[in-house]
């Protein structure tokens, strides 16, 4: 950042030199048109080359310094996202991780140096002016007295933007995402056209509110512009009068006239980047919130490498968005290597319990012991390597079936093939999938997700509805494959499945079978 300021100040000095030499050349011509100004012209050309050099190197050098910050922020955002879990609308997160982080980079690389320059450069220029022509310096300095008004306007603008802009952008992002993702649902009800038209209305609404903000935002720009052009005019008129009186030399007058508008340029540049700064402050706030809201993970015991015994003691989990009476209390002992069915009506908390055991959510109350060790004491990464979780609505990220199965690992094709064959899933490893694996039917998707889960070298399997969308035959195949792993397994299900023990979860009662 300091380098950016140094480049800026060098540029200011070169600007002054350029104005002085140009004024001197013109002044000489005025005095005697046949006077040789060749030397001045050579100096002017040299100054142009020097300014060109500064322009050539300044941006590549200065932009390099904000990069590490961007790297760190991006990784920290990802980190927080992963620790916090998938709870919020994802578009908002993605916005934060992309535009939000970029906004902060712009703030550091562009706005902060511009802000420092907006103080330093005018001071340098004014100092020169004071030395050359105090009267004009006084005029320019007096216009700075109007600066507080400008700052109040900036403050107004900032407030307006902080209140609306960032939030609005996110709302809009989610609105578009919502409509586009839900387009199939809307279309089934003949509402897709209406919804699409409402996008136009939302756009107009956004325009109106944005214009309201911008009208205020541009006021600050207007006031700066006014200061600068009025000062130029005033300086010109006063210089004119003084020239007539012979108080000042033409060379000085021309140099001052050339410099006057330059005094305001750094300020204008900083205020033009002010938008970036408010965006960045908004984004920084949101990222900080995200970092804070992400739970700190601790625990240092490593997870067991053979199928462990799980003890659930009076466990309560909160079901998101529900009243407290839907919490459940559950106690159970799950022996090593057994397959346990978790049953109960919808919404009782089966999925949440699995999420808790997968280390994705905290217990509301109670205790879980793994081979007698408290769950909270186990090092999370090693637990995640030990257990494999199949969510209720698995998302299958990856371009091909192979990518989906690998999920960051690189298994041999034969292993992948075997995993698919075991579930009688006849799809090519190279089959290209869209989002949510839409090239596959519901049942194929489910079996692919099961195959992915079973590929992991896990000793604890937490499976949420592994047989959903499957007919009896395929469901039985899936259960056989699960049993073959010999892991300590919990299967949440609505169906009668081949399990060793069934745990009944129900809202009012407290107990299990």
């Amino acid at each position: 950042m300091a380098i950016a300021v140094v480049f800026g100040m060098v540029n200011v000095l070169l600007t002054i030199a350029q104005a002085v030499v140009l004024a001197r050349a013109l002044g000489s011509l005025f005095a005697d048109s046949s006077m040789s100004i060749g030397r001045d012209l050579v100096i002017l050309a040299t100054l142009a080359v020097a300014r060109g050099l500064v322009a050539l190197v300044s941006e590549p050098i200065t932009s390099r310094f904000a990069r590490p910050v961007r790297h760190i922020l991006r990784v920290r955002t990802l980190d927080a996202m992963l620790r916090r879990g998938n709870h919020s609308p994802p578009d908002a997160f993605v916005q934060l991780g992309t535009r939000g982080v970029d906004a902060i980079e712009t703030y550091l690389a562009a706005y902060l140096p511009a802000l420092v320059l907006s103080v330093g450069a005018p001071m340098a220029l004014l100092a020169w002016m004071m030395f050359t022509d105090p009267w004009s310096a006084l005029i320019v300095a007096s216009t700075f007295a109007l600066l507080p008004i400008f700052m109040v306007l900036m403050g107004l603008e900032a407030k307006e933007r902080m209140d609306h802009s960032w939030a609005k952008q996110q709302v809009l992002a989610n609105y578009f995402g919502d409509i586009v993702r839900g387009m199939a649902t809307l279309k089934a009800h003949n509402r897709s056209v209406t919804a699409t038209e409402s996008l136009g209305d939302v756009g107009n609404e956004l325009r109106l509110s944005t214009m309201k903000t911008l009208r205020i935002a541009f006021l600050s720009g207007f006031s700066l512009e006014l200061l600068s052009s009025l000062a130029t005019a005033l300086v010109a008129v006063v210089l004119g009068v003084r020239l007539i009186d012979g108080d000042v030399h033409l060379t000085t007058a021309l140099a001052v006239l050339l410099i006057t508008p330059e005094v305001y340029v750094p300020l204008r540049r900083a205020s033009a980047r002010f938008h970036a700064s408010t965006d960045a402050v908004g984004a920084a706030g949101a990222i900080l919130d995200l970092l804070e809201s992400a739970p700190e993970l601790n625990g240092c015991e490593s997870a067991p490498t053979v199928p462990p015994r799980l003890d659930l003691h009076d466990v309560r989990v909160g079901v998101e968005g529900r009243d407290h009476h839907t919490l459940l209390a559950l106690s159970a002992v799950i022996e090593p290597g057994t397959v346990v069915g978790l049953e109960g009506p919808s919404g009782v908390g089966k999925s949440t319990l699995l999420r808790v055991l997968a280390g994705l959510e905290d217990l509301t109350q109670g205790e879980v012991l793994v081979n007698g060790t408290g769950f909270a004491n186990i090092e999370p990464t090693s637990w995640h390597a030990t257990c494999a979780w199949l969510p209720q609505d698995p998302i299958l990220p990856g371009a091909t079936v192979r990518d989906v199965l690998n999920m960051g690992e690189e298994y041999e094709d034969k292993r992948l093939r075997d995993a698919l064959d075991e579930l009688d899933l006849d799809v090519s490893l190279d089959l290209i999938l869209g989002e949510g694996a839409e090239g596959l039917s519901g049942g194929q998707r489910r079996r692919l997700a099961v195959a992915r889960t079973l590929l992991r070298p896990a000793t604890v399997l937490l499976l949420d509805e592994p047989t959903a969308h499957l007919d009896e035959l395929n469901a039985a195949k899936v259960m056989r494959a699960i049993r073959r792993r010999g892991a300590t397994t919990i299967v949440a299900t609505h169906r009668q499945l081949d399990v060793d023990v069934s745990i009944m979860m129900s809202a009012p009662e407290r107990f299990n079978v």
């Binding site: 990802l78 879990g85 998938n86 586009v180 839900g182 009025l230 004119g240 919808s346 979780w389 969308h469």
Partner: protein, 554 residues
């Protein structure tokens, strides 16, 4: 929609908003003009004063200088407001038009990654705004600067005019075009790196839990790291290019001024320029070139804006899965559905082969079959989300291909196996199926769909905000919501794709009972492999490997 509507979204929007664009351009021209005039008249004032005339003779000129100063500032404000106004107007159109062109593609013709689609719309449309804001400035500034060159040449010093004109052409036209051409590749690389980063974060936001719980989060970190490195390389290239062109810019401006001063001397010696005007060309040139140079930077934005426009246009150029007929036929009152020798392809895969069946009004049709056999495609066909390539499907005796999709769907209600929950209230989520439904009807259908218990636990009842991708609704509840929508919509034909998935047997029985009760007079088609969903079926169809056969009850 015809081919005409498939023209560039942007060009169409621009044409429709030409008035506000014209206003913005006019404002921009005014500003450029007063900027150049201000420095010219100030130079004239100074030099005239140096000749020490009577003060009175200069008052007019002084007034002009002050007036131009005011006009410039006010004009700049007007320019910015009107430019943004125009840009936002066009953007609202571009957004709505892009979305309306996506609509026919859903659900069968939309490409992979809907998050990309969303980001493309938002991100690219934002770039369109930059394009708009960046465009009015350079165009008018170049125009005015060019005019000034001519004016200077004509009236003050013809010898400087050529240098001035060359400088303007270089700074305002040649350089931006060159820069834009040189910028295509680095900008593309930057965009690609951005996309990679976004995909990684998108996966993390959507399925981060799975990555974590499968011990695979390292893959996400690697992807972010790789994306970041690619981004750095591309960004370095972009800044080097920017630096090069701004350096060149500074050089050209500097040398133009040097040459103008040199030429001015020549003119002075030959007395072809009056002494009081001699400083005007140099100072005017300085401010005009600065103006042109400053705004030509935004021409670089135009490059990325154009890339965005290309993407927007390719997005909507995908083939539609269904084509509405040019002349629509009126629906007959009946709702009997007949398939005669129907074959359906998805992309180039034969999914349903030579199906013949008739679903009478009031029938309860049970469709079963192994996963991936084509059951859902059958439902898509009847809801007119996809067309058969062979054979004929009729609704109330009218061939589907002679009806619009919305005509068909006003008769056929379809509940897919993953209904979307919109980020709005529960009431609005149901009401979308039947906009004039009363609160009572909504509550009634929610209870019938088995969402009564959920409703009673929601803090604000019907007005509770639900939605977003993590909805707090379980998979079973989402399906129930889909059923509630279908119940409120009251279509003569209801097609349900796996309605009871994620429900236990007794809940499923209750739900199906309620659906059958309410759909008594209409046709009900239930796709499921759960036997209990098929109670009371009047017809049983088994789909296997694209073939459909009727199963006679034993």
């Amino acid at each position: 929609m015809s081919e005409v509507c498939r023209r560039s979204v942007f060009r169409d929007s621009l044409t429709r908003e030409r008035r506000s664009v014209a206003v913005a351009l006019a404002a921009s021209v005014l500003v450029s003009m007063s900027t150049v005039a201000l420095s010219g008249s100030a130079a004239l004032l100074i030099v005239r004063s140096a000749q020490r005339p009577a003060l009175l003779s200069l008052t007019l000129l002084m007034g002009v200088v002050q007036l131009l100063a005011l006009g410039k500032a006010a004009g700049r404000y007007g320019e910015r407001v009107s430019t943004h106004q125009a840009a936002l107007r066009i953007m609202a159109r571009v957004r709505a038009m892009t979305a309306s062109r996506l609509e026919p593609l859903v659900p069968a013709g939309l490409g992979p990654r809907s998050a990309d689609v969303v980001e493309t719309i938002i991100g690219d449309v934002d770039k369109v705004q930059d394009l708009l804001v960046g465009f009015a400035g350079p165009v008018s500034a170049n125009l005015i600067a060019g005019l000034c060159a001519v004016a200077v040449g004509e009236f003050i010093a013809p010898s400087t005019a050529i240098v001035f004109a060359v400088g303007i052409v270089l700074v305002g036209i040649v350089m931006p075009l060159w820069a834009a051409r040189a910028g295509v590749r680095p900008q593309d690389e930057l965009d690609q790196a951005r996309v990679r980063l976004r995909h990684a974060l998108d996966d993390a936001a959507r399925s981060g839990d799975e990555y974590v719980a499968l011990g695979a989060s390292g893959a996400l970190y690697r992807r972010v790291h790789d994306g970041e490195c690619a981004y750095d390389r591309a960004a370095a290239r972009v800044t080097r290019r920017t630096g090069f062109f701004s350096a060149l810019n500074v050089l050209i401006v500097g040398f133009t001024i040097v040459m103008i001063v040199g030429k001015t001397q020549g003119s002075l010696v030959h007395h072809s320029i009056s002494l009081s005007l001699f400083a005007v060309p140099a100072l005017m040139a300085l401010s005009a070139l600065e103006l042109v140079g400053a705004s030509s930077g935004s021409l670089l934005d135009i490059q990325s804006g154009r890339a965005a426009l290309r993407r927007l246009d390719t997005l909507v150029a995908k083939p539609w899965p269904v084509h509405d007929p040019a002349e629509t036929q009126l629906l007959d009152p009946g709702s009997e559905i007949t398939l005669r020798n129907v074959s359906v392809w998805r992309d180039d895969r034969l999914v349903i082969e030579q199906v013949d069946t008739t679903w009478k009004e009031g029938a309860v049709v049970a469709v079963s079959g192994p996963s991936g056999s084509g059951k859902t495609t059958l439902a898509h066909l009847v809801a007119r989300f996809i067309e058969s390539r062979r054979g004929e499907t009729t609704l109330g005796g009218v061939a589907l291909h002679r009806l619009t999709g919305s005509q068909v769907r006003s008769r056929v209600g379809f509940v897919d196996d993953d209904p979307h929950v919109f980020a709005t209230t529960l009431a609005a989520n149901v009401r979308l199926a039947h906009p004039t439904a009363s609160d009572e009807e909504i509550v009634d259908s929610l209870i019938a769909a088995g969402l009564g218990p959920l409703l009673s636990t929601l803090p604000f009842g019907l007005d509770t905000e639900i939605g977003g991708v993590m909805t707090g609704l379980s998979g079973g509840e989402r399906r129930r919501l889909g059923v509630a929508r279908a119940l409120v919509a009251r279509r003569p034909v209801m097609v349900l794709d796996e309605p009871t998935e994620g429900l236990d047997a007794s809940d499923a029985r209750f739900l199906m009972h309620e659906i059958r009760r309410r759909q008594k007079d209409g046709t009900l088609v239930v796709i499921s492999h759960q036997e209990h969903d098929h109670l009371g079926a009047t017809m049983r169809l088994h789909v296997d490997n694209g073939g459909v056969r009727e199963v006679r009850p034993d």
